[in-house]
């Protein structure tokens, strides 16, 4: 009798561990080991050091400017960001890691730039920033820097899925005179060379980034326009929703990767 119980218990233990091993094997097969790489890992050690040193990373100049804007009272309402949100180190932690998102009362997603502009026009009653203006980028850099080290965490909002589908469709669609899609370079040929440069996997972990080629800070939108121009495709208009859709897809694709804004890129 005792032997029988023992056999059953043994079977249960084996069965459970077998099932566990199976499910682990499956989840590993399903997603594969994480082979995603941030552009940071493809840079040389000199640039990595530049990004890591807060007094050598030129993006930190913009963070400094952004921190001044954070507490500057503007607009008809005479309010500063800090008047509503308080200390950015706590209130803005993780915010950049989950945008784009649909703000309350709206029906379409906005990126960080759009969210800041909503605050400006609605709460501060000030004019929205010009696209990619230095003040807008500085404030974005300041907000994004509060999420450094946080995992990218896109929201579960079901209304976003159709946007992500649209973003993926753009990502996989061939376009432009060179007839290339984003996926051809950044999925199929990532890690290989384009001229002397390593093709990155295009994970938006560090935006806004300080790009040495730009000699300044730039948004993900600017990067996307740069790529579209590179494949000789027609650029979407500056404020087009296609950019937000692409951004949503890219953030979903980079889910769980570590935020490193403001990053330095060659």
């Amino acid at each position: 009798m005792r032997a029988r119980y023992f056999a059953i218990a043994l079977f249960l233990v084996f069965g459970a561990s077998f099932a566990l091993a199976q499910s682990q094997g499956q989840s590993q097969r399903g997603s594969g080991a994480d082979t995603r790489r941030s552009g940071y890992q493809d840079m040389g050690p000199a640039l990595q050091q530049m990004q890591d040193d807060d007094t050598a990373n030129p993006g930190m100049l913009f963070v400094q400017q952004g921190s001044k804007l954070w507490s500057a009272r503007v607009g008809v309402a005479g309010k500063a960001c800090a008047d509503c949100h308080g200390d950015a180190a706590t209130s803005m932690k993780g915010v950049a890691a989950r945008y784009p998102a649909i703000p309350p009362g709206a029906d379409r997603p906005v990126d960080l730039e759009g969210r800041i502009d909503l605050c400006r026009t609605e709460r501060q009653q000030a004019p929205a920033f010009a696209h990619d203006s230095q003040d807008s980028l500085a404030l974005q850099a300041f907000v994004a820097a509060q999420s450094r080290g946080q995992p990218i965490a896109p929201p579960d909002d079901p209304r976003l899925s159709s946007w992500r589908v649209q973003g993926e469709e753009i990502y996989r669609r061939r376009q432009g005179q060179l007839n290339l899609s984003c996926a051809i370079c950044h999925d199929e040929n990532a890690g290989k060379k384009l001229a002397g440069v390593t093709i990155p996997q295009a994970h938006p972990t560090g935006y806004p980034v300080y790009r040495l080629e730009w000699q300044g800070l730039g948004s993900l939108r600017r990067r996307l326009r740069n790529c579209l121009f590179g494949i000789r495709a027609e650029l979407y208009p500056v404020g087009a929703p296609e950019y937000v859709a692409l951004e949503l897809y890219l953030m979903e694709r980079a889910k769980g990767m570590t935020m490193e804004a403001p990053a330095v890129r060659p």
Binding site: D53, P58, M60, L212, G216
Partner: protein, 106 residues
């Protein structure tokens, strides 16, 4: 006021060699680029950078259009006595920016 980031030790041992790093935000214009109307955009760069320890000049450099925007400068000094490090950038169109750092020498 210009945005400046300075990395210098607050304290140093007498006779030690210390590294001072300074980064400044400055939107440069090389003076070689044509603008939208085809005219050459006027040059706008930082021309001089000087560092003085109290009243003694310890480092200075002249900058040229080949130096990047938002220039980063790093230099070394021997810590001989406590004092204030005074960094000063001057450039085209009357650009002036200054930053002071106190360094205590033990």
């Amino acid at each position: 006021m210009a945005n400046i980031l300075v990395n210098a030790p607050k304290t140093a041992k007498r006779g030690a060699v210390i590294e001072i790093k300074a980064l400044i935000m400055h939107q440069m214009e090389t003076g070689f680029r044509p603008g939208p109307n085809g005219q050459i955009l006027p040059r706008n760069i930082i021309e001089h950078f000087t560092a003085t320890w109290d009243d003694a000049e310890i480092f200075s450099m002249e900058m040229s259009p080949a130096i990047s925007a938002n220039p980063f400068v790093s230099f070394f000094a021997v810590a001989s006595e406590s004092g204030t490090l005074h960094l000063r950038w001057t450039g085209d169109h009357g650009f002036v920016a200054e930053e002071k750092v106190a360094i205590a020498v033990e």
